[in-house]
Amino acid sequence: MLKFLVYRVATIVPVLLGVSIVVFLMMKLIPGDPAEAILGPAATTEKIELVRKSLGLDQPFYVQYVRWLWKVVHGDFGTSIAVNVPVAQLVWPKFWNTVLLTIGSLVICILVGLGVGIVSGTRQYSWFDRISMSLTLVVANTPAFWLGLVLMVVLALYLGWFPATGMYSMRAAHKTVGDLIHHMVLPAITTGAVSAAIIARLVRSSFLDVIRKHYITALRAKGLAERDIILRHGMKNALPPIINIVGLQVGYLMGGALFTEVVFSWPGIGLQIYSSIVARDLPVVQAAVLVTTFVFVLVNLGTDIVVAALDPRIRRA
């Protein structure tokens, strides 16, 4: 197990390095000169040269990269072009807002996905199974932004049960957890729905697979009750492949949250990326993408480790 851990952790280092290179290059490949963008109409050739020098843009690529990477590792993401504050100040709070939303979405997606999937998987062909499979097929193919709009219209604007935008009530004196959750419901459902549908289908098919295995019959022959077989043995065998997918879904949730944040004006990192792209504020985009991707890689590492801990066969590979 330890060997596996060391091996897996070692493999993410080159990946993270590669990610940083890609992010760096992505910004470098943008048409247009950043110096000109900063100076705006006041640009003259000398001023451009000066700004370029001060930004370190006259150095060769690899030097720029190393400089940039050094700063990033120390938490310095540069300054926002649009708002003129350190990017880190802009990005970190938004990042945590997205994490909150992702956690909410994850809760919904796991509870609903697991619940529906297990019931369907252990009762194939029942009416519940048929309805849930049709429903999940539709939901899995629904655009998150459209679902968000629908939920907003029906539950927020028409029925008024939930707020339509934002993370907290503007009018409230303090930020309470209850208020936060109230605001999070619709966005979390929007973000989590597609993943919940996907997970439900996967859980179902994984359970269908497991239930047919010979060792399940052997366990029944031992006199175990069906419920114990499903909860103890079924879960342990059906879940590892699912945990992998759930981990991937976290990545989707963080990315898909982008649409939700735009629709519901949730002040998260997705919305920040979007508005920064529109404002051509590239240091912010760079930092936001970098941070989000890093977290995604770490989450995937985490799920790989959890899966290996659960399924002894994987550790040997």
């Binding site: 990946v15 890609v22 048409p31 193919n141 629904t142 932004f145 219209v153 792209i277």
Partner: protein, 308 residues
């Protein structure tokens, strides 16, 4: 008693291996027939394929079928609801006929889903074949590089690239293509490696060394079928993602319609005229679902274990 039984068993086994190898050589001619028979048995998949064909046909014929110009609006009829005489699906915020925009928009939405998957598949099959077949350093370089792109959440990468490149249909398609390559390459790679291992074992037993050319004849078709299955499902996902990019304004430029932009247009009128956003969304769901179902149907039809 059992010792002789065992030797008899071995004799039978050897015959089975030879006949399987023989069959492998003559397998290909009837493959299409078998596939078609299996696929046509899945009525849901056939229905979904028909829906896709219909939508593609109707969109392709948009210039002929569309009752109005999708970019010209009639301000007197702004936000008219579904069932308005002459405008069966109503009009949007600028008085443009929604049915016409739906037809014309279909062309864009379908193309920005189909083309990236197609192009990316070609590139990915090449990469996967090369990496899987030659192995060694080439394998490592290709797959490790792809791993880096794999590390990005797909939606984020698509938005970032599209945002960085700027609006426009070509840029959206380029962004989606780049995002897709690691995924399809991995599928192609795994298929190649699996087949490569199988074939080498068989070859060693049945005959002597075979020229690499024939290996390509065997490996390539076996790599193509999982790629085709995966690709079909991916088209459905790209329809939704492409529409999402357009929704954000990172896609095609107005006034050309596509289903994503149509959803975005309706955002300001959700209470008074929900149909403006609802209708294109329903089309998106319908078409994405159909590709998903077809992908599943292809997978079942191509799976040798499930064939009769």
């Amino acid at each position: 008693m059992s010792a002789v039984n065992v030797r008899a068993k071995e004799a039978v086994d050897a015959r089975a291996i030879d006949s399987a190898a023989e069959q492998a050589m003559f397998r290909r001619p009837s493959e299409w027939r078998i596939f078609w028979e299996a696929f046509s048995r899945d009525r849901l998949a056939v229905g979904a394929a028909a829906v896709i064909a219909l939508v593609c046909l109707v969109s392709a014929l948009a210039p002929v079928l569309s009752p109005y110009d999708p970019t010209v609006g009639d301000n007197s009829l702004r936000l008219a609801p579904i069932g308005t005489p002459g405008h069966i699906l109503g009009l949007d915020g600028q008085g443009r006929d929604i049915l016409s925009r739906l037809l014309w928009g279909g062309r864009v939405s379908l193309i920005i889903a189909l083309l990236p998957v197609a192009v990316s598949s070609v590139v990915s099959v090449f990469l996967g074949l090369v990496a899987g077949f030659f192995g060694g350093k080439l394998d490592m370089i290709i797959m490790r590089t792809l791993d880096v792109f794999f590390a990005f959440p797909a939606v984020l990468l698509a938005v970032a690239i599209a945002g960085v490149l700027g609006p426009g249909m070509l840029n959206v398609m380029l962004s989606l293509t780049i995002v897709l390559i690691p995924y399809i390459s991995r599928v192609a790679y795994m298929a190649t490696v699996t087949v490569k291992n199988e074939l080498f074992v068989d070859q060693a037993r049945v005959s002597g060394a075979r020229p690499r050319q024939i290996l390509f004849d065997h490996i390539l078709p076996n790599t193509l079928s999982p790629v085709i299955v995966y690709g079909s499902t991916l088209v459905g996902i790209m329809i939704v993602l492409g529409a999402g990019l357009s929704f954000l304004g990172l896609g095609i430029t107005p006034p050309r319609p596509d289903w994503g932009i149509m959803c975005s247009d309706g955002r300001n009128f959700l209470l008074v005229a929900p149909h403006v956003s609802a209708v294109p969304g329903i089309m998106l769901i319908l078409v994405a679902m159909s590709f998903n179902i077809v992908g599943d149907g292809l997978r079942d039809a191509l799976d040798p274990k499930l064939r009769k």
